[in-house]
């Protein structure tokens, strides 16, 4: 049932439709699954991802909550421990800061602290990504915060296919799983097979094969890396794009193997560059592929500033294809 690649002949869905289909399928399959959050029912969330679910499953399972992120995360933990499979919807990734005690001190630790007796099968779905002109409190990519905490699983899909498979795995998993969806990807179209499939956690996907340089890219940055790879091909540089798909657990081996093959790597992630996902992955590659590398592993993350509002300012804070091309050319000695 688990598949690693879609087929080009599959029907086409948007990222948003893939998420909705995953949740709807799991809610049909398992009556203990419910979703709760701000404006999830009739509004179908601000991004309209959940439109139609309340009509099919009713307000008892698609629950509009007060604006109480800590509270709903906490209710999620309690419901999960006692036999339900809640999906907690946090409208913007920036608001996960309000859930921190419940996610970090409660959800992540309950299984361990109870000596393995209690389980917390909950999903927290939220967003990441800048360039929507939403300013500093609605644009951050904070998935590194959860990735730092043992006990949490963090999934960051980059395609409709991955979004559906990872969401279904998240709902079936017995651990707290945070799934970050890039707001800019919701209308991205891609092949999604009709039949059921799951994508296991901790299995990276090579989105494009190449031989000269590895571009490890996550979530929103996968499209950036793929564009860069196309531009690089015109320059005679063959770039491999590797998408880890989950930061925790991290498929270290695929990342290391790719870097060994190409001997160069750039890690691109939209979280802040300081102390971020790029640092962790670069360290994994530098450690695991050290003797195969022809250049230092480079990192490209969001600039270490609060995300500014003005478009001319915001656009320079996140990695863009041309920046990746320039970095790759430098590493490959093609300046």
């Amino acid at each position: 049932m688990s598949m690693l690649k879609p087929s080009p002949t599959d029907r086409v869905l948007t990222f948003s439709e893939a998420i909705r289909e995953a949740i709807a399928e799991e809610m049909r399959r398992d009556p203990t699954v419910f979703i709760m959050g701000e404006d999830v029912a009739e509004a179908g969330t601000v991004f309209k991802v959940l439109v139609g679910l309340v009509e099919e499953f009713g307000p008892q399972r698609v629950i509009d909550s007060p604006i109480s992120e800590a509270g709903i995360a906490g209710l999620g933990v309690g419901a999960a421990i006692t036999g339900m499979r809640p999906i907690i919807d946090i409208m913007f990734g920036d608001f996960i800061t309000l859930t921190m005690d419940q996610m970090v001190n409660q959800a992540a630790k309950t299984h361990y602290m109870s000596g393995g007796k209690l389980k917390v099968p909950m999903v927290l779905r939220t967003t990441l990504g800048a360039t929507r002109r939403s300013a500093a409190q609605h644009s951050q990519s904070l998935h590194a915060w959860f990735s730092h905490v043992p006990g949490l699983i963090v999934a960051i899909p980059s395609t409709p296919y991955d979004a559906k498979g990872l969401m279904k795995s998240a709902i079936r998993n017995d651990n707290p799983v945070a799934i970050f969806e890039d707001k800019m990807l919701y209308q991205l179209k891609g092949p999604v097979p009709e039949g059921e499939y799951l994508i296991p956690f901790g299995v990276a996907d090579i989105k494009r094969e190449g031989t000269d340089i590895t571009l490890v890219a996550t979530s929103s940055m996968v499209q950036v890396a793929l564009e860069a790879a196309t531009l690089l091909a015109d320059l005679g540089i063959s770039a491999e794009v590797v998408d880890p798909r989950t930061t925790t657990p991290l498929d270290k081996q695929t990342l290391i193997d790719s870097a060994k093959k190409t001997s160069r790597a750039i890690v691109i992630d939209e979280g802040y560059e300081q102390y971020g996902v790029t640092a962790e992955i670069a360290s994994v590659i530098a450690d695991g592929a050290f003797y195969y590398l022809d250049a230092p592993v480079k990192r490209m993350g969001a600039m270490n500033v609060p995300v500014p509002f003005s478009p001319v300012l915001e656009d320079v804070t996140v990695p863009m294809p041309q920046g990746v091309v320039d970095m790759a050319k430098m590493l490959c000695g093609k300046n």
Binding site: T32, V77, G78, A79, T82, Q102, N105, L118, N175
Partner: protein
């Protein structure tokens, strides 16, 4: 403290009152031994003793069934015992032993025992309000007639999570009972310095049914809880029970010199006049329900049981070091 007086205490038989006495006695003896384990350096870390507050845990849990849920606090041993945990495995947990309720991974502040509905003690003040309320939501969704009890102290009244979850509990009529153990002190600070306005009115602002009870009187706590539990089981939603109480000892075992934040006279008053064990025994003797000698016998039996539990824990093996990476993920 008004409504509970309407309860006919004679409706409860002698054996049940004696059982409550025995449960309170177990908690006190457990805590005295935990204190001793700390001072004799046999217990790693610190612990927070429940001595003085026993009537609340016992009065509340006597009104519950085994399958009802509780969430507890850093001062949680009393709740665990009252909900039916076994003392040997509790002591083993306090000592970090493999036989402990959490295989030694939780310690004093994190004892959880799903077999008795104990969803875990919590070392974040007010941190379990979400878990208890979520359990209430789960009960309602699964359509059972369980209830979920959230124990917390007056310190938790400073936490926003409590108000977020009480709001949802009342909106959705969840079977959750918030039991506030007001022992007057947020650690080392009197709550007149930390809590504005009325404590009970906090719940009433949400339209939650709220009552206040003398937390040193197990009869009053039990009688009130019977009513609150019943209305929650009948789908009438959450309740808030404010219990006035006092911790006889420090915030934790190491808090020995307390005169900079509370007087010896105040402590003496509570210990001599408001001891929940003495008060229950005195009432039973007065009411002709028991001879004075029976209480001494119960204490002796309990002390023997507790001593055996301590012995078990001291002799139990530590977990294998390879356990450290087990149970991070389910």
């Amino acid at each position: 403290m008004t409504q509970s007086t309407e309860f006919d205490y004679n409706a409860v038989d002698r054996e049940q009152w004696l059982h409550m006495y025995e449960q309170m006695c177990k908690i006190r003896s457990f805590e005295e031994n935990a204190n001793e384990l700390y001072f004799s350096r046999k217990m790693p870390g610190l612990t927070h003793l429940y001595i003085g507050e026993e009537a609340i845990a016992v009065g509340v849990c006597e009104a519950l069934r085994r399958e009802d849920y509780i969430t507890s606090t850093h001062r949680g041993h009393g709740h665990c015992v009252a909900k039916g945990a076994s003392l040997d495995r509790m002591f083993a947990e306090l000592l970090g032993k493999e036989a402990g309720y959490c295989r030694g991974k939780g310690g004093s502040m994190h004892i959880a025992d799903q077999d008795t509905g104990n969803l875990g003690a919590n070392a974040i003040v007010g941190g379990s309000a979400g878990i208890a309320t979520g359990a209430g939501m789960s009960i309602k969704m699964r359509g059972t007639d369980q209830v979920a009890i959230c124990f917390f102290g007056d310190g938790a009244l400073g936490q926003g999570l409590l108000y977020e979850t009480m709001n949802m509990a009342q909106l959705w009529k969840l079977p959750v009972i918030y039991v506030c153990e007001n022992n007057l002190y947020n650690e080392y600070t009197h709550n007149r310095e930390t809590a504005a306005g009325s404590l009970k009115a906090r719940a009433e602002a949400f339209g939650i049914h709220a009552e206040e009870v003398n937390g040193q009187d197990v009869r009053a706590v039990y009688a009130t809880m019977l009513r609150l539990v019943e209305r929650s089981r009948q789908g009438e939603g959450p309740a808030f029970l404010l219990c006035q109480t006092y911790r006889f000892l420090g915030h934790h075992v190491g808090d020995v010199n307390r005169e900079y934040y509370r007087s010896k006279e105040e402590e003496t008053l509570w210990k001599t006049e408001r001891d929940p064990l003495k008060n229950l025994a005195a009432w039973m003797i007065e009411a002709g329900l028991a001879e004075a000698t029976i209480f001494g016998q119960i204490e002796e039996d309990v002390q023997a049981e507790v001593a055996a539990a301590v012995e078990f824990a001291l002799n139990a093996p530590f977990p294998n070091v390879s356990e450290v990476t087990e149970n991070v993920y389910a």
